[in-house]
């Protein structure tokens, strides 16, 4: 089950590494971010927010943007309560650190097949973590050597990934209303507010609007 997630993780990590090199992070910083954060989409968005050097304001922006992009982990964690609830808290919270989209998907399938061993969750997370951290290195080295990243479309990596990840999320037009709101609000905000706040404001507006529309 875990094997199916590997190619996507490798590509995603390499793309992150490439972008990190172009944004002026050192290899150590790029690897440290992968090792400590372990959240692909949030790292790619954070690189767009990243400034060289960092200011206190950038640090605050990074924390907020990361929390918003990773807010889906809140829902995933909530779904794990019935499973991990019987464990001692320290084990449950340790296992929760394995939460990424891929681990959670693997775990949901494992649970559906009747599995109940929480170490499967931690093990899948640890495996993906190792792949995620190491695969960023060749991507970084590649990124550092390419003089004109735009020529190869590497400046578009973030939206290309998001467009690809968007397709499996499709659940019909009703759910998409919230996404349309997010896109329109973000576009409007991008003209008015400098920086990358349009992602945060647009995403929040869209998911709140969607939650109310879907409730009827």
């Amino acid at each position: 089950m875990c094997g199916a997630m590997v190619p996507g993780t490798v590509v995603f990590a390499a793309a992150y590494g490439t972008l990190a090199a172009q944004k002026g992070l050192s290899l150590t910083e790029a690897v440290l971010m992968s090792a400590l954060v372990f959240g692909g989409a949030s790292q790619l968005v954070a690189l767009e927010v990243w400034t060289n050097p960092l200011t206190a304001w950038t640090v605050v922006s990074l924390a907020v943007v990361t929390a918003i992009v990773n807010a889906r982990f809140i829902l995933m964690g909530a779904t794990l309560r019935p499973w991990f609830g019987a464990l001692p808290p320290w084990q449950a919270y340790a296992a929760l650190n394995a939460t990424v989209d891929a681990t959670w998907l693997i775990a949901m399938r494992y649970r559906a097949e009747g599995g109940s061993d929480a170490s499967v969750y931690a093990g899948a997370g640890l495996t993906l973590w190792v792949i995620w951290v190491t695969s960023a290195i060749p991507g970084y080295l590649l990124g550092a050597f390419i003089a004109d990243p735009k020529r190869f479309g590497f400046d578009l990596v973030l939206i290309i990934f998001f467009a690809a990840m968007f397709v499996p999320l499709w659940r019909g037009v009703r759910r998409a209303i919230g996404w349309a709101v997010a896109g329109v609000v973000a576009l409007a905000v991008s003209f008015v507010v400098p920086g990358w706040w349009f992602i945060v404001i647009g995403a929040l507006a869209g998911s709140i609007a969607g939650a109310f529309i879907d409730d009827e």
Binding site: A67, G153, I201
Partner: protein, 104 residues
């Protein structure tokens, strides 16, 4: 003061991101042990991933223009035909490089 360069800024920034992520990983689990999650909050969180993607893609495509639109369409189209990130990203990057080589 907020806009002055920070000493060890990169490390502080990365740690701030790590703490923010730790909180999201623990919060839902913790919360479910204390209060039941309402349907509305659940829906809000379900829609959030797609909303983040839409809120990122639309303004960037509007700013960058035709090449970005092409890359997004190729990536999504490829995923619709075959669910493979390798192929989708490869095609989209190739389409963007070709379009730029031809001066679009």
């Amino acid at each position: 003061m907020m806009n002055e360069p920070l000493a060890h800024g990169a490390v502080i920034g990365i740690v701030a991101m790590a703490v923010a992520t730790l909180m999201t990983r623990a919060a839902g689990y913790w919360l479910m042990g204390h209060i039941p999650m309402t349907r509305r909050v659940r829906r809000c969180l379900e829609i959030l991933p797609g909303a983040i993607m839409a809120a990122t893609i639309v303004p960037i495509v509007a700013k960058v223009g035709a090449v970005a639109l092409l890359a997004v369409i190729v990536a999504a189209g490829s995923m619709m035909v075959r669910r493979n990130e390798f192929i989708a990203v490869g095609f989209a990057l190739a389409a963007a490089s070709l379009a730029r080589a031809f001066g679009i």
